[in-house]
Structures are given as structure tokens and as C-alpha cells.
């Protein structure tokens, strides 16, 4: 069939030119080799893979029906989870704003502060919440304080980075106008910078609160408080129906969180 087509048409139509094709093949080849290496080298016992669907469905079967007998304890732990996320988000604001101020190129007092700010943001963002939690549990012992600090440490980077970008994106012209009135730096910030970044600030904090709710559901797995503690306990004791209840309540919590954030976003911004 290909032969016939070739004989019929003398003009050859090709989608990509030679160089593009070479790049495409090279990228494809590199990807295939990478995947081949990953599949061959990875430490997986393959018969288990073929058995995995069975195992997963049997776990699912053991979970059904969800057991609501510990609902009261679960709801309490859920509230604790929400408290951790909310308190941590509130506290983060006080840390993140100064950091974003010194990490934004147009407001930073000097280069040393700029690099200090950037260093804080990068180190905060590169370490995952649960790793922060691991560290704080080791220091302060299991409990909600470790959880709050872990969420804070991760959120500072998030809120600080986005606020820093918001500050860098402001309209320069009102700043110039305020300088022309003879206002000091603090006044220029209060009048020309703060009003401009207000909407971004609310959006970022609300967004991070939503994320923090999800993050705080896992803190308990390393002992840092919240619903994760009960989840870990139920899994350890093979109380699968309780696990199912917890999972369902997490879905409910996350959906409620999303509803609240979208409501806030509409009302405030």
C-alpha cells in the first residue's frame, strides 16, 4: 500500500523538516531509553505487579462498608486538622510578609537582604511539609505544635514567593507619584505598594489555606497531630472499615474547604 502510494505521487509531503524530525527522534529515543532503564533496573518483584489489581480490590472489599462507630473521634480529629491549617496559615502571614518584602527586588533594602530573603524562600519551598514535620516531631515531640510549625515552615516559602512576585509586578507610577510628594519610604509603601498588592495577598492566603487543609491531613502519619494519627492507628490495627470512614470524611473536608475558598474568593476579591 505504501509502495502504491509512493508510485502514484511524485511529490512527497512531510510534516516536519529534517532537523525537526531529528530532534523529535532524539527526544523520543532518549525518553524510551530512560523508561527502559527505569523498568529494567527498578527493584520490583514483577509477579506482584500482575497481582496488584487483585490485592487492591480485596483491600477495597475489606473496607466496605465504612464503620461509623468512631465518628465522634474522627470529627474531633478533623477539627484539630482544620485548626492546625488555619492557625499555621494565620501565623505564616506574619513571617511571610517581611520575607517577601526583602525578597522583592524593588523593595529590598540592600543586596544582602535580597539574598537572605531568597535563601529563606528557597529552603522553605524545597523541603516538603512532611519532612518539616519529621524534623519538628524530633525536636518538640509528637503533637500539634510540630504540625503547626511544619505547615508554617512550608507556607512561608509559598506565600513569600508569590507575594514577592506580586510586589515586583506592581505599577511603578503611583510609587513615583508618592515619592514626588516627599513621602518617606514607609509612607510610599503604605500608600502605593500595599493597596496594589492587597488583592493578590488575599488570593494567595486563601489558596494556601486550601492547600494547608490537605497537607495537614497527613501530618499525623509522622506524629504531628490531626486526622493522620487516627488514620495511622486504624491502618496499623487493620481496622479497614474505620479507614474507609476516615477517607470519606477527608473527601468531605476537602470539598468543604474548596467551597469555602471559592466563596471567600468571590466575596473578598
Amino acid at each position: 500500500m505504501v509502495d502504491r502510494a509512493g508510485a502514484l505521487a511524485e511529490r512527497v509531503w512531510q510534516r516536519y523538516d529534517r532537523r525537526e524530525r531529528l530532534i523529535r527522534y532524539a527526544v523520543l529515543l532518549a525518553t524510551m531509553m530512560l523508561v527502559y532503564w527505569a523498568v529494567r533496573d527498578i527493584d520490583i518483584f514483577w509477579p506482584w505487579v500482575w497481582d496488584a489489581p487483585n490485592q487492591i480490590s480485596s483491600l477495597g472489599a475489606r473496607m466496605w462498608p465504612p464503620d461509623p462507630s468512631r465518628l465522634a473521634a474522627i470529627v474531633n480529629a478533623m477539627l484539630e486538622t482544620v485548626h492546625i491549617a488555619t492557625l499555621a496559615t494565620l501565623l505564616t502571614i506574619f513571617v511571610a510578609l517581611p520575607v517577601s518584602y526583602i525578597a522583592a527586588q524593588n523593595t529590598t533594602p540592600n543586596r544582602a537582604c535580597l539574598w537572605l530573603g531568597r535563601f529563606i524562600l528557597v529552603s522553605s519551598r524545597s523541603v516538603n511539609t512532611i519532612i518539616w514535620a519529621l524534623l519538628f516531631v524530633a525536636i518538640f515531640g509528637p503533637g500539634v505544635l510540630a504540625g503547626i510549625l511544619a505547615i508554617m515552615c512550608r507556607s512561608v516559602g509559598f506565600i513569600g514567593k508569590l507575594m514577592g512576585e506580586a510586589i515586583e509586578e506592581i505599577d511603578r507610577r503611583p510609587v513615583e507619584a508618592m515619592q514626588a510628594t516627599g513621602a518617606s519610604k514607609a509612607k510610599v509603601i503604605a500608600y502605593a505598594v500595599v493597596p496594589q498588592v492587597m488583592p493578590a495577598f488575599f488570593a494567595i492566603v486563601i489558596l494556601r489555606w486550601d492547600i494547608n487543609i490537605r497537607e495537614s491531613t497527613v501530618l499525623g502519619l509522622v506524629g504531628a497531630g490531626g486526622i493522620g494519627v487516627i488514620l495511622q492507628g486504624s491502618i496499623d490495627t487493620f481496622a479497614w472499615p474505620t479507614v474507609a470512614t476516615i477517607l470519606l470524611s477527608i473527601i468531605v473536608l476537602v470539598l468543604i474547604g474548596e467551597a469555602i475558598t471559592s466563596l471567600l474568593r468571590r466575596r473578598v476579591i
Binding site: 519551598r125 516538603n128 511539609t129 509559598f158 508569590l162 512576585e165 509586578e169 507610577r173 503611583p174 513615583e176 507619584a177 508618592m178 515619592q179 514626588a180 510628594t181 516627599g182 513621602a183 518617606s184 514607609a186 509612607k187 510610599v188 503604605a190 500608600y191 502605593a192 493597596p195 496594589q196 492587597m198 488583592p199 493578590a200 488570593a203 494567595i204 489558596l207 492547600i211 490537605r214 497537607e215
Partner: protein, 285 residues
């Protein structure tokens, strides 16, 4: 009295934008500065209140040298120099009254500024000036709800709130439609005589310059090449200033196009932000 002598401004190692400018402005006079884009008009104005650092030369306002001022002394000098901007430079998300009171920032304490507790005299003055230019009814509206002409009136009132000894206007009408820009020019002219203020106006529109000012200064390539009464500003002077660069009359319609463009850029911005956020949201990993 404003005395500028041998003013030079050079950005980096490029050719100087201002090449030794001399200018004396008596009290109580309105001076138009005309010239093509890039002639150095805006740089000159900004050198006076030091939004741009002059490279060398001297600028004296009522006998006080401005060029060497630093920190608090500079801010005290700035509060005596009002400035009106081409793009209004209002703080969009604040009310008209807050924008107007911002003209007092050089006088009030930081606490007063942040808590918006301005002295009663300032508030009274703000209302009087706003009534004078016809925007008092908008006091508690947000600045971005106003039309272009109204916004520029806010800009003018803000500058006058500083109780300035000199008013600088950088293309104050370039972002406005022809009718409104006439009104603003008239306003500046009459305010100058009421308050006996020297006013420097950068302006593209030569016809307006001739109608509303008492003296025209022409700049080209950072040098003054014309200085005289509007009546003396003839075809030759026009050619000397704009010749071979661009027709001044074309520039009248030009600014609106640029304003629309900037508006559009602003409208695009929030969308980009949203996308950015969506991506970062994923950072929870």
C-alpha cells in the same frame, strides 16, 4: 524662582539626554516645554524633583540648591514641588479623598498616614480644592471609577495639596481626549494665577502650548533651541524643534492609542496571575 544652570543628565555611558541646560523661571509664570519624544523634556522635569538624578549642574528653587540633597532634606524639598503626571499615577484602589490627602504625605507622621487621621486643616483644604476643580462629590469613590479628565483633576489637586512653590506637569493632557485636555490646561493656567505659582508644563500639543502659556521653551536633543513668547513661536521655530523627526500634530491622536494599549495590558495581567497560581497550587507535592 527656579534657576537651572548647566544641567547635564547621562544614563550610563550613552550620549547625554540633557546637555548643559540653562533655564530661569520667574514666580507666577506658566512655561510650556515643547519638543519631540526623546528631546529630554521629561528627564528635565524629573531632575528638578530628583526622581531622576542629574549627572551635573545646579538647580535652585527660591535660592535653595536641590542637586545635593539627601534623605529627609530631599523629601522636605520634594514636598514643596508638586507634580502632575501623564498617566495620572493615582493609586487606583484607594478613594479619591485618600489620593488627594496623599499629597500631604510629606507633612504628616507615618501613624497619621497609615491610620488616615489627617489634620482637620488638611481635610478642609482637600474639600476646598476638590470643589474648586469640581470633583468633591467623588470624595469616597474609588479612583479607578473616575473618567480620564476627572482622574487628572485628582492628580492636580493632589499636587496642590502639597502647598507647592513650584508645579511640574509632565504631559498632563497626553492621555486625555482633546476637549478634556483643553479643560485641564485651562485649569492649570487659572490655578497658576490664583495661587501665584510657577508652573512648568511638558507638552506635545503646540497649539495648546501657545494658547495657555506665557512662555514657550523648545528642546531638541537635550539642548534649548527656543525661548520666547507664544507669539514669537512661528513656523521656523516649529521646524527647528520638530523638523525631520515627526509632525507635532500627529502626536495629538497618538496618546489615546497608547493609553488603550496600557489599559489592555492591565486587563491581561490578572489572567496570567490566575494561571500562575493554578500551577503553583500543585507545589503541594
Amino acid at each position: 524662582m527656579l534657576e537651572i544652570s548647566k544641567l547635564v543628565k547621562r544614563y550610563g555611558h550613552d550620549e547625554a539626554v540633557l546637555k548643559g541646560l540653562d533655564l530661569v523661571v520667574e514666580d507666577n509664570s506658566v512655561v510650556a516645554i515643547v519638543g519631540a519624544s526623546g528631546a529630554g523634556k521629561s528627564t528635565m522635569l524629573r531632575c528638578i524633583n530628583r526622581l531622576v538624578e542629574p549627572s551635573s549642574g545646579s538647580i535652585r528653587l527660591n535660592g535653595n540648591e536641590l542637586v545635593n540633597l539627601r534623605g529627609a532634606a530631599l523629601r522636605r524639598a520634594r514636598r514643596k514641588i508638586g507634580m502632575v503626571f501623564q498617566g495620572f499615577n493615582l493609586i487606583d484602589r484607594l478613594t479619591v479623598m485618600e489620593n488627594v490627602l496623599a499629597g500631604r504625605l510629606g507633612y504628616v507622621s507615618l501613624y497619621q498616614a497609615i491610620s488616615r487621621r489627617y489634620p482637620q486643616a488638611d481635610i478642609e483644604r482637600a474639600f476646598q480644592l476638590m470643589e474648586r476643580v469640581g470633583i468633591a462629590q467623588y470624595a469616597n469613590k474609588r479612583a479607578d471609577e473616575l473618567s480620564g479628565g476627572e482622574r487628572q483633576r485628582v492628580g492636580v489637586v493632589r499636587a496642590l495639596m502639597q502647598e507647592p512653590e513650584l508645579l511640574l506637569a509632565d504631559e498632563p493632557t497626553a492621555s486625555l481626549d482633546p476637549r478634556t485636555s483643553e479643560q485641564i490646561m485651562m485649569l492649570l493656567q487659572s490655578l497658576a494665577s490664583e495661587l501665584s505659582l510657577p508652573v512648568l508644563i511638558n507638552i506635545h500639543n503646540v497649539a495648546q502650548a501657545k494658547t495657555y502659556t506665557e512662555r514657550i521653551v523648545g528642546l531638541r536633543h537635550g539642548k534649548m533651541i527656543f525661548d520666547g513668547k507664544p507669539a514669537e513661536f512661528d513656523k521656523d521655530a516649529l521646524d527647528a524643534i520638530y523638523g525631520g523627526i515627526e509632525a507635532p500634530d500627529e502626536t495629538v491622536s497618538d496618546p489615546q492609542a497608547t493609553e488603550q494599549q496600557t489599559d489592555k495590558q492591565h486587563a491581561d495581567k490578572p489572567r496570567q496571575r490566575d494561571k500562575g497560581l493554578d500551577e503553583v497550587k500543585h507545589d503541594q507535592a
